[in-house]
Amino acid sequence: MSMIEKLRALLGGAAVKAATEDGHESQDMMSCEQAITVLQEFLDGELDQIPEDQVRAHFDACERCYPYLKFEGAFRDAVTRATTGQTAPPDLRAKLMELMSQAGA
């Protein structure tokens, strides 16, 4: 099943049709250029001009842009996964408390 078929199955076809037939320029969808411009802010949860739903709708429907969203998502997942297990050494807390009491409570 191709990506376009998957998306069509997911979305009922309407949005994908608009994306593929109208070259993403349909009035109810933002352009690819706009979507790519706000991608970082979208993923960071920092959109300030455009509603999140509108950006999400573009990436859900646009065959060309969708991989970019997935790529950036996979990158962030990897960074998170690689660093989440890191915690302070067990004795550091005790050392700190000792340091505080020496500094005067």
């Binding site: 250029e33 790519i36 411009t37 706000v38 991608l39 970082q40 802010e41 960071d44 949860g45 920092e46 991989p67 970019y68 997935k70 790529f71 950036e72 998502g73 996979a74 990158f75 962030r76 997942d77 990897a78 960074v79 998170t80 996964r81 690689a82 660093t83 297990g85 890191q86 915690t87 302070a88 050494p89 550091l92 807390r93 050392k95 700190l96 340091l99 505080m100 500094a103 005067g104 409570a105």
Partner: protein, 204 residues
Amino acid sequence: MVGNVTELDPTAGSKVGFEQEAIPHLDAVYRFALRLSGAPDHAEDLVQETFLRAYKSWNQYTTGTAAKSWLFTICRNVFLRGQERGKRHDEIVEENLGRDGPGVPAVNPIWSSVLGADPEGDFFESIVDGRIVSAIDSLPEEYRTTVVLSDIEGLPYAAIAELMEVPVGTVKSRLFRGRRQLQGVLYDYAVEMGYIADRSGTGA
């Protein structure tokens, strides 16, 4: 006039408040220190110095504001002060910054490299934790700190801007460039390891 406990009894008040508000961020501050310094021993020293300074100036901390950001700020200042004797940082990045904010280039050049081979970045999953961490550590401090604060610690742009004393546009720009650079290092590694087929040139 209603005075809080801290005002009435600075010593007793500060200690209780510190334990409740600062100590819970120990892991986060340690992670941050580790990425700043790149070495566990150095990170431990940095954390101790950070908490000691925070403790001593606890009366300047306003209850209810983000203690985590405050601790990160102290930690970074301690780190940068230690670095000052060695190299100069700011110029490296700032001269390359160019335009901020809306002028940030939005298209990631790596996208065209992976097109056809691995457009959704599945290769990231194959890269071991240690390699990702060392790639983060290879970034210039300004990029590294920005990426770490955003992607690892989840701080909003505004908090990062305040902490690093730069405009929000600079934070966005540093994030964009820092992430691109990090992806570039990881991409090269993935090609080298055969996690990703290099189709950019037929016999290259």
